[in-house]
Symmetry: C2
Subunit: 437 residues, 2 copies
């Protein structure tokens, strides 16, 4: 998707489909926890029953994509073996056991006698999900949507069209034997439709783009619907002067090398000048052995880094075995660098000095700020959320790794017995504002 | 502000000022509850000491605006008497006693031994506040910003320029004798600056427009910064067939007439066909006595409403003594009407039937859904929040009346002792995910 792409207005047919999902979502929102759990179980059973057809559809997608010259990396993401499918089906069953995110009472207050205010979590409505390649994402996101009482309009990559159709057909068949309307889920298959989806702000309450940074940025730039996601993950590790060098080295290697394509891997290493030399002496051989390309500022080049970093590197997410290195004269300079070039994702400090750590934690405004541990922990599963809808780098909540709570909002319910505001303005009655249990 | 307005890029000078506020806000964010409370007290003292200058500045603004032909309504909003000023100063002192919204631990979890995750509320950063006329809003919003640890860039109406300058000068003098940096607050005075403010997404984390629907819509349409506010408040009251007519009448009169210029006043009355005739028989004389202009659909016209409603009325916020009336054949039709024409602000049902009420509460997706009480209760003070930053009609939180919690976000803090992700991927270690107290 390019920024120059023209977005045409939604077709009549798309509007009808979106409005059907919206209508179904209103019924879904009112369904009980038990009924949503049963629906997930039926969805999993149906996927299991349709497994052969799904795998066969995937083989056709693979063949077509191979002929079209899709890269080996993309082909391997597209491939859905029986084993992978079974793992996904297991995932659908597990989502049923996540705690119900809706119907939670966040506030319960008597405003006055018999005038009771409640704030209760409710589903958002309809999710618009755009993802690239991986057909397992369809099952995951569809199950999270149903769990949280939301309808979903799904758009996968065209190379996975047959697989996605077979999966969504199975999911809808599952819903058909449950109390949840089957058109709570709908699959878009053309590129035009997925673009028009961005304009459906009357029907879609949240867009979740799952894919490349370019996809996310394109979506953010082209819709008025709130977007859950992040375009960049430019994460930093700052190694302070008062530090356990071996521990810092372990953290650095894990943060960079354990899975460099992840958004929570670091791109930049900031070194306090007092330990820069001794740290690099330890680190450079290990990084080189791991195959990491290292780019440094002048000072770190003088300490053994061979390639020069360019200004644009500081704000680049490599998603690769590549690391930029800068020597700073203080923790303050490190924090200033993070403020200038970071993406408010996850940034870490390695230090034995608790005061410096505290200052770092309080002034670095990223969704995750870590002390003496790897940035790779920034993940919904690792945080114990049971699921991850996405990682958000916006300032407003929800930010950071977002679990099911990112798919709900709340409503204020006020129940009275004929209460009117005039009685409080006139002073005839007054508010008690008493919190109830 | 018109939609055709050209927004010029921020000047160098504005960028410097905004960056100063951002820098100050980082220090402010780290200040203790006690220091923020003392700062508010110093701000109030300083306003008190400068009261004569502020009132004198306001008199000059009034004179200039009167000569320029400002309407009587706007002049009265602009006017800041000594009494009004004292009330505002009292308000600043009261904000100091609101519970501290920052530093609240929302989550405290051991991921593994010595690997502790915390989610703690932190200030958003810098607020951009644009308001029209009322100079008392400057004091209110500045005190809410400081209370919640946020810097603020303020832009008031040009007719109040001298007053606002005198107020902000006093507020900064107050901050000067506190530990909070005085450039946490900054006042913009030209129209160009207030437009450029919308482009400062590097420095401003939330825009709060306080003024007409046109202002809010313009701001929403012209910035990538999140906006807290609402363009429309098209609220409804549905009177069901199974109803206490006298109670419903009281609720209707209060919802429409108690303060018709408020966003939480109703614009449309939906009547079940079975009670339409008897309800209108009671209601029409009262509404006419209150001076309400009534517009009805065909059925309600046959029942005594004299003027015809037009399609566009259903989605118009009158903010005036004007009411549109529709007769519906069921609660379902009422809910459908609200879904089509409502603005997701506040909608109420009057009924003795708890099942119908429950269905209404669950399927009307407005931030406030009320049963047997006036829509006029949708207000931060009436909800017991102690302050109201704004009312939001977006779906995502914060929605509805928003108190101080709308000015904070959270950060995840993770503290380890050299923990790395590879140990968990390899199975060498495993997560405990144990919630701590």
């Amino acid at each position: 998707m390019q920024n120059q792409t023209k977005i045409s207005p939604p077709t009549e047919e798309l509007l009808i489909r979106a409005s059907d999902v919206k209508r179904a979502s209103i019924k879904l929102a009112q369904s009980s926890n038990d009924n949503r759990q049963k629906a997930l179980s039926a969805m999993a059973d149906s996927l299991y029953a349709r497994a052969d057809q799904i795998v066969a559809a995937n083989e056709k997608d693979l063949q077509r994509s191979e002929e079209a010259g899709l890269s080996q990396a993309l082909l391997s993401r597209l491939k859905l073996t029986k084993d992978k499918l079974n793992t996904s089906i297991e995932g659908v069953r597990q989502v049923a056991f996540l705690p119900d995110p809706i119907g939670l009472r966040q506030l319960h207050r008597e405003l006055d006698k018999d005038l009771i205010l409640e704030r209760i979590t409710v589903p958002l409505g309809v999710l618009g999900v755009i993802f690239e390649s991986r057909p397992d994402a369809v099952m995951q996101i569809a199950s999270l949507a149903v769990r949280s009482g939301n309808g979903a309009i799904l758009k996968g990559g065209s190379e996975a069209n047959l697989t996605n159709k077979a999966i969504v057909k199975a999911l809808q068949e599952g819903l058909n034997v449950s109390t949840i309307p089957s058109n709570s889920l709908c699959l878009l298959t053309t590129r035009e439709e997925s673009l028009s989806l961005l304009l459906l702000d009357k029907f879609v309450d949240l867009i979740i783009p799952r894919g490349s940074n370019e996809l996310v940025r394109f979506v953010q730039d082209n819709t008025r619907i709130p977007v859950l996601g992040h375009a960049d993950g430019v994460c930093h590790l700052y190694v302070d002067s008062d530090v356990d060098l071996t521990q810092a080295l372990d953290i650095m290697i894990d943060s960079k090398c354990q899975y460099p394509a992840a958004c929570n891997a670091i791109e930049t290493l900031l070194l306090h000048k007092d330990i820069a030399s001794s740290f690099l002496e330890l680190a450079l051989p290990v990084l080189r052995k791991e195959g990491v390309k290292i780019l440094g500022d002048k000072t770190s080049q003088a300490l053994g880094v061979r390639c020069a970093v360019e200004e644009s590197d500081w704000s680049t997410e490599y998603l690769d075995l590549k690391l930029s290195v800068k020597v700073v004269s203080s923790a303050l300079e490190a924090m200033e660098h993070i403020r200038l070039y970071g993406s408010r994702h996850t940034d870490a400090i390695a230090t034995k000095n608790d005061d410096i750590a505290r200052q770092f934690m309080l002034s670095v405004d990223s969704s995750g700020v870590y002390h003496n541990c790897s940035t790779r922990f920034a993940d919904g599963f690792r945080y114990g959320f049971g699921a991850e809808v996405g990682i958000s780098t916006q300032t407003l909540p929800p930010r950071g790794p977002v679990g099911l709570e990112g798919l709900v909002t709340y409503r204020y319910f006020l129940k009275g017995e004929g209460h009117i505001a005039a009685d409080y303005s006139s002073g005839m009655r007054s508010f008690s504002h008493k919190n109830l249990n």
